[in-house]
Subunit: 471 residues, 2 copies
């Protein structure tokens, strides 16, 4: 049974995306443009991502903190590149308690400056290092063009901020956190990521190096899904973050920051979704199994459904029974729209035979299973679904990374196929800018060094780079 | 060993409080007045409160959501009493993305109006009810006088918002959530609460009824620690929140909201703290046990300490080893300042005898314990400490609730003893205002009906009321 309420994915990808956001009840619009409401189903996905990452952050020695939502304008201006990157997007508080403020306050677009000010105050000696902090919050960036989860004037994220005694340790931290993001994407979201370093042009405002995880969407465009920055001692010098080392010498600290946001919900939709709606990877799904009773008005059917629910719930499976008075077909559509990984159908005949039907959302396959082994069967099915979804996304990714050897080929592949394009590049920002102007493809990240010729200017290339059109 | 760095509690309670906030590293000041930084130790306490409550909210059928941080001025103005209550405290955004905004936006002081707007949009039929939502966020209220955790221009909290088909159901929800707060305070914070309904004057802006949990601090002042509001259909009418009932009639919904904030951290400090610093109830303590090795340079001591740590950690006990190169006495002071409930001392002689010393932070008692039964001993000790702390706080509360029969007695008790004063009151706001003006005591909540005479005007009393000076 098709749900006719949403646009077909390959007819109008943008409309299909918005339809899913609304019809699966992930979000709703508020009355302020670019500020969305995270509805229970969307927020529950974020909670699962949050729980996974929070555990990993703590396992790797990070502490959660909370910094103020407002930043004095003068504080934001302390690091020059940083403020230039964010000033155009700021929401500014000019009045508080019915009085004009003496200094404007900015709603945090990111909190580097607040962490720097605090670190400078509390760190005196090498004994105080490292400081490895994280905060879960929302940030505000005034965007002109907004889309649910992908680009909003407010979004939810975590921002990690760490300072270290040595460059090596800070560099290691940057890559450790990138790996945690990449692993989370694989283990929880069933999304394979292309990772690498950003070019100078694309890196974070104020960072020396930015590393990124980039995911390929179904339509061939790419979504930056998390970033990890190495700052060197740039902010340390601007904010005077120093410590006394073991030899009683004043040294500047080395710094990182890293963030991942509710954008990842957009990635889940655009990587896995289909014409029937959302398709959720099992480990991030708020509801992993929906039990739909058939002929529920017959004696014993609902009882058996609830018994099954209790059995699965006891084993930590996130399960619910749809006992509403809608027709089963309507319930199937609803469960498909919400992307629930497994549907169990159980009716009077099944109960007679001590069995039920297990249907997989990702492939539509149905099997008949014995109720005796239901816990193992469901756990196995969830694992199979996760692996199938990851493998499918990985195949789509691998099929859509194309090495090109000249600019015409670059443009043709970009127009005909999309996806990631691997090309050699001289490292000159002019070529990068021209390519963006002429094709709207941007560098996503650097794969490695190159001995070839720049795709644009034909001069000696420095890097092999992933290009793509992106969200 | 006394920590000389903090003020004595009974010499200057306010200074003692601030000293603990800073020296136990619960918080730090930011550069904006009233906006504090929640440091790892303070935030971890909040996380434990959050985890307890979040589980309870979910158990009782609530969903988490996230609403925008900004509210259009016109939306906040839709309910008259509500906006009058909050307008003087608003932080106002007038510029976004370097342009003047057409309409001012308020940083949420509370989110009733946003929830109402959303509810009005998504609820059509009785099938859509109830909606039981909660959000974890920070709110901003521009305060003139601020104190860490107790009164801030920004604080962390949860705000629950629910709508129901019937008045009974909404009233039941209001009281259910009050009970969850009260139970949390008892089970987690070891704080007994006085509960009851607020007077008209003291209720929440826009509510029909406000219920409160009120805690008695060591200095005899009282802290409102959580509130639960019944709105009737007031907001429903202002925001047109209607549904079609089973008979196809349009009906207004009945509404509640309830909130608890990081104020509760202030309550923990002021109820349990002593001259040596913070005293944390075991179940909310980020670190429940600190192991301090004695003569740690001797072979096998540190190994044994880590072995003990691993044993306890495996059983879910939050434990750490202080292996820093400070003297044991310094480590004791530090652990006391941070209020860690249990200290284990272990040195070469203890190891020889397969024993260790367990010291209780709350009473200072020390016992020698066998290492063989250490898990049970520690779990028992944590439970004993919790109960002792609760009982002590309960005794302090019961000893400081005093019924008075005339206004002179009222004033004398207030000046000499503080605490809660039970008095009869006519129900007239004029008397309530006069008492506040003349004594600075306010009504905390209504205990019940009264047949006596008003303490102020001598007319027939309606209620028996708890009065107190409060934070």
């Amino acid at each position: 049974m098709k749900n006719e309420a949403i646009c077909k994915r390959d007819e109008d990808f943008a409309q299909w995306y918005t339809d899913i956001c609304l019809k699966a009840e992930l979000m709703d619009y508020s009355s302020i443009k670019g500020f969305i409401i995270y509805r229970p189903y969307g927020y529950a996905i974020w909670e699962n991502i949050k729980n996974y990452l929070d555990k990993e952050f703590k396992r790797t020695g990070h502490d959660n903190v909370y910094m103020p939502v407002l930043i004095p304008e003068s504080l934001l201006q302390k690091e020059k590149e940083h403020v230039e990157g964010f000033a155009p997007e700021c929401a500014i508080v000019t009045k508080g308690g019915s009085e004009e403020l003496e200094e404007n306050l900015i709603i945090r677009p990111t909190s580097e400056t607040l962490f720097c000010e605090h670190f400078a105050k509390i760190v005196k000696s090498y004994r105080d290092l490292p400081k490895k902090y994280n905060q879960w919050c929302s940030v505000v960036r005034w965007e002109k063009t907004t889309r649910p989860f992908l680009r909003g004037s407010e979004f939810l994220w975590q921002e990690g901020h760490t300072i270290h005694a040595t460059e090596e340790e800070a560099r290691e931290e940057t890559l450790t956190m990138l790996k945690i993001y990449k692993d989370m994407a694989k283990d929880l979201l069933a999304i394979p990521m292309v990772t690498g370093r950003k070019t100078e042009k694309e890196k974070f405002a104020g960072a020396l190096e930015t590393y990124t995880i980039e995911a390929l969407m179904h339509d061939g465009k790419v979504l930056q899904s998390g970033t990890s920055h190495y700052f060197g001692d740039g902010f340390a010098k601007a904010f005077n973050m120093r410590y006394l080392d073991k030899n009683n010498q004043q040294k500047y600290v080395y710094q990182t920051s890293w963030g991942l946001s509710t954008r990842t919900i957009g990635a889940i939709i655009m990587v896995h979704g289909d014409d029937n709606g959302l398709v959720l990877p099992p480990y991030v799904a708020p509801t992993q199994v929906v039990i739909i009773p058939i002929k529920q008005e017959e004696e014993g059917v609902l009882d058996k459904a609830y018994e099954l629910e209790a059995t699965l719930k006891k084993q930590g499976i996130r399960v619910t029974v749809d006992s509403s008075d809608n027709r089963p077909g309507w319930k199937f559509s609803e469960a498909e729209m919400r992307g629930i990984p497994v549907r169990i159908e159980i009716g009077p005949k099944d109960i007679e035979n001590n069995q039920c039907i297990i249907a997989k959302r990702n492939t539509g396959e149905k099997i008949t299973a014995s109720i005796t082994n239901i816990v193992d069967d469901i756990n196995n099915t969830l694992e199979v679904i996760h692996n199938e979804m990851y493998d499918k996304a990985l195949k789509h990714l691998n099929d859509n990374i194309r090495k090109v050897s000249n600019y015409d080929e670059f443009k043709n592949v970009l127009t005909d196929k999309g996806g990631f394009i691997l090309a050699d590049w001289c490292g000159d920002e002019n070529c990068e800018n021209k390519i963006k102007e002429e094709t709207s493809a941007t560098t996503r990240c650097i794969k490695g060094d190159s001995q070839g010729k720049c795709i644009y200017c034909q001069k000696d290339a420095k890097y092999e780079v992933y290009f793509a059109k992106s969200y």
